[in-house]
């Protein structure tokens, strides 16, 4: 039905096209192009999927077509943009309308997300809602499937301009997602159970409708908005074979609907001031049939309420002021008569703050502000003192200084203090040394320094440094510190009309420190993420307006590690760790923790035969080397020896690849 509506809408919207074609004063521009790509990929199943993660480049060769048409007259316009026909990245877009009267747009597009090709499962039925069979360890005989999801989106919108200063917009889009993604479930509810990685079927349809109407003319802006969204999952559960204990079903995302009404308004006031407000009420509902397996009559219902009030003012040239109050509340009204699932999260967040900006002599601009955020959480029905969630009170101060004195320079520095206080509401939770980082007290300091230099008209240089240090000061066990540095630089330089060169460099490291306790003995782990990369590129106008050479090279390296320090008692045999003999604090660190190197190189020549006709030829090389302690030495079947066993599918396994791409194409503009 909705597809029919779309077709009718498209036909109505194409009326301007016929009218536009009959106009005298019209401009027609367009382009058609064809690009052929020869692809040579070296990699295993995971690598081939990683190479084409968001692309459709599986075959040895591919030919991509594209077309663009822009028709413009004094009264009408219409633009068509289509491409990648018949591939998983295909797109078809049309927008148009009557200038000053109305606008419309229609679109269809696709994008894949490839995770791993030729994954394996001992069961039959991958991609469906029922898995059958008896698992056996002979993994070479298992069934293969691809972990991949394809998104198809289509929809359109219509905006009425003719009733200005009133407006009316409506848009609708539908998204279909199909494919398989990895999930997992243990065979039993015991912590020593065999783990099963499983193919989860993805057959989702989401419909989104947005309607907006209002009035917009200085000094007033008024807008009423309505959003309806419904999510439909074709599968309520993944039904598991009998070797799984009851309930031998794995629940999948439930169907849900979301409706929101909102009012937004703004009014200009004296002293160059403006008052803005935003108020909304949303209700989400979910339905699932799978809960009947545990005898629950659960119905999901969540209300969200928000209202914001903001006042901004620029009363005199050198002064900017802003003050605001924001409130957001989530109220879970779900109902479970049987009481099996009667713990629901509610929270409310109240924020108020003020900002001040001062234009100072010598082109200095000083700004700063204060924000207070109070978050109150409640798990409705929760009576376990350990699980009572704390309230948070955040005090945030910030100051920024910008200097744009000389024409060739702009500098910015900024500093922010974030101070979170946690109010634990039970003696147990207050005294508990485990304090979850999401709620725990924290002190965060953020520093940034940015410098943009334009020493010459054709040279731009940018430097940036950021530092952030978060201390979870009251946490003894759990995440205790998050510290990060980032350095970034970029530059571009135009050498007359001969060439343009550009480059960038990035370096960053992040350190997370966390403590834990096992059998009454503490241990701590420091996770390090170090990343550095650079890119250089050039456009050389070999024959101006005729022949251009384009070169691009990018490099990125991630070096992750985890440094462990265990209490000596944890190395004693029989403490439950299952330590390998000979383990000590010198040989337990992990040196490969999502380590990877991305290397790419591309060269392209573009030749313009005429103003209309151009040809392009090029070569690209891409390499991705991945190494990780979790995935190296991968086993599909892990026997249950002294610990847990597992049946794995190969998700994210062997992601390294290298690929050569030779491409060429022609394009014609008219």
């Amino acid at each position: 039905m909705k597809a029919k509506i779309m077709i009718v809408a498209m036909m109505i919207c194409l009326v301007p096209l016929s009218n536009a074609l009959s106009q005298d004063n019209k401009t027609i521009e367009g382009e058609v192009g064809l690009t052929g790509v020869w692809i040579d990929v070296h990699g295993k199943e995971g690598g081939k999927a990683k190479f084409t993660e968001y692309r459709d480049l599986r075959e040895d060769g591919a030919v991509f077509g594209r077309a663009r048409l822009n028709l413009d007259t004094d009264k009408y316009f219409i633009n068509l943009n289509v491409g990648d026909f018949a591939y998983d990245t295909q797109y078809y877009m049309v927008d148009g309308g009557m200038w000053g009267k109305f606008k419309f747009d229609l679109f269809y597009d696709e994008i894949p997300h490839n995770i791993t090709f030729d994954a394996r499962t001992p069961f039959l039925g991958a991609g469906h809602d029922t898995l059958v069979g008896t698992p056996n360890p002979n993994f070479p005989l298992w069934n293969t499937f691809d972990y991949s999801i394809l998104r198809h989106q289509y929809g359109g919108g219509f905006k009425v301009d003719v009733i200005r200063p009133f407006f009316f917009d409506v848009s609708f889009e539908r998204e279909n997602r199909d494919g398989i993604k990895p999930t997992g479930a243990p065979q039993t509810f015991s912590s020593s159970s065999v783990a099963f990685e499983l193919p989860e079927p993805v057959e989702y349809v989401t419909n989104n409708l947005k309607v907006s109407a209002g009035y917009s003319k200085k000094p007033l802006f008024l807008s009423l908005n309505y959003i309806h969204s419904d999510f439909n999952n074709s599968n309520s559960a993944l039904f598991l074979p009998p070797n799984f204990v009851a309930p031998n079903a794995f629940s999948l995302p439930p169907d849900n609907t979301y409706d929101k009404g909102a009012f937004k308004g703004a009014v200009s006031l004296p002293f160059n001031s403006r008052f803005s407000t935003n108020m909304g009420f949303a209700r989400g509902r979910s339905e699932t049939s799978i809960v009947s397996l545990i005898g629950s009559g659960y119905t999901g219902k969540v209300d969200n309420i928000n209202y914001d009030f903001m006042l901004s003012s620029n009363p005199v040239r050198f002064l900017d002021l802003k003050a605001y109050y924001k409130y957001y509340k989530r109220f879970n009204k779900s109902d479970d008569p049987t009481g099996v699932a009667d713990i629901f999260l509610n929270y409310k967040i109240a924020t108020y703050g003020a900002e001040l900006g001062l234009r100072l002599p010598q082109n200095f601009y000083l700004s700063g502000g204060y924000k207070y955020v109070k978050t109150e959480r409640e798990k409705k029905g929760e009576d376990d003192p350990e699980e009572i969630l704390p309230f948070n009170m955040d005090n945030i101060f910030f100051v920024d200084l910008k200097w744009s004195g000389p024409d060739f320079l702009e500098a910015k520095v900024g500093y922010e203090i974030f101070d979170r206080d946690a109010h634990y509401r039970t003696a147990y939770s207050y005294g508990n040394p485990f304090k979850r980082f999401s709620y725990a007290e924290q002190n965060r300091n953020t520093v940034k320094a940015i410098l943009d230099i334009f020493p010459l008209e054709n040279l731009n240089l940018g430097l940036e440094y950021r530092y952030k240090n978060t201390d979870y000061s009251d946490t003894i066990f759990g995440l205790r510190r998050d510290k990060r540095h980032e350095f970034d630089i970029n530059a571009d330089y135009a050498i007359g009309k001969i060439a343009k060169v550009y480059g960038y460099g990035d370096y960053g490291w992040i350190r997370f420190n966390q403590w834990q306790i096992r059998s009454g003995l503490p241990w701590d782990g420091d996770q390090w993420d170090k990343t550095w990369g650079y890119g250089i590129g050039a456009e050389v106008y070999v024959i101006p307006k005729k022949l251009t050479l384009i070169f691009q090279h990018d490099y990125l390296k991630s070096n992750g590690s985890v440094d462990f320090a265990l209490n000596d008692g944890l190395f004693v045999v029989g403490n439950g760790l299952g330590a390998a003999s000979g383990a000590n604090n010198d040989n337990i660190d992990i040196s490969r923790w999502d380590d990877y190197t991305l290397y790419s190189f591309r060269i392209k020549a573009v030749y313009n035969f005429t103003k209309s006709l151009a040809a392009m030829i090029g070569y690209a090389y891409e390499r991705f080397r991945y190494s990780d302690a979790q995935l190296d030495g991968y086993q599909f079947f892990v026997p249950a020896g002294t610990g847990n066993g597992a049946f794995l599918t190969g998700a994210y396994k062997d992601q390294s690849y290298r690929a050569n791409l030779v491409f060429g194409g022609v394009s014609y503009k008219f």
């Binding site: 968001y54 990685e197 914001d308 479970d336 713990i343 969630l389 990035d506 992750g560 999502d594 086993q635």
Partner: protein
Amino acid sequence: MGKRLLIFLSVLFIFLLVSIAHNIVRGDSEYAGSEACKDCHEAQYNKFIKSVHGKKAIPGNPANRDGCESCHGPGAQHVEKGGGRGVAIFVFSKKESSTARDSKCLACHQDMRGVENWNLSKHKSFLITCDNCHSIHSSVPGKNFLKAEEPDLCFGCHRNIRAQFNKQSHHPIKEVFVGRQALKCSSCHNPMGTFDIKAMIKADSVNDLCYKCHAEKRGPYAFEHPPVPENCLYCHEIHGSNHRKLLVRKVPLLCESCHTGGHPSRPYTNLHSFSGTATAQKNKFFGRGCLNCHGNIHGSSLDPAFIR
């Protein structure tokens, strides 16, 4: 009371009188007309006249008012003095204050949808002006007169965000080599300002924004994982991560940041695997770690431990 009202009305009358007089004095003599501009700035004129600003069908458009001079101000003196950049004419350069430059655009665009919250924008707070991102005369093809395409335009200033998007796990925002760009910065952010002052996201909360594309995570679930409905960013980065699924830390350390007791309390080191010594140094955390059993980590309809 009556006296004050009289004074107020007198001030108002004088103000209106001055305004009207100013408009009368303005006259046509100060304006050169767009044709005069065309004589020296033909390329800019041609681009303007073909653009949406040149459409007379749109009420209030520069084409219906003073053409080039709608934005650049009266140009007669500029012509008389023989031209030259900034000579007796308004140009969008650093020499003009950010307020002066913005006011030229906002004179018309303040009424435009999507710009109504410019006064709240973080960009405005940092004195970023319309002409930092838009150019009427030298924009890239497409809508909105942008100086460059997204995300390159945004990365020009937000270098750290560019670095994050280069990481192996990222939203498909830079996948433009073959095929089209799937997402844009403006899919999630409105650079013109929203009620989210700092990040300018197009939603009333982070989760509301994420659920627009990830509606399956919206629930509500019978069994909720408490931080999930509050803020996705406790566990996920926004722009890019070295760890798959945009996770802020790698599993199992991410889970162990909060959870204790039982197997979360165990250190999974180079020599301590989930499966004991039998698989030491090999496949030790079963590929996806905790998620191999707790597959429904965002919420479950069946199980409070998210294993069904």
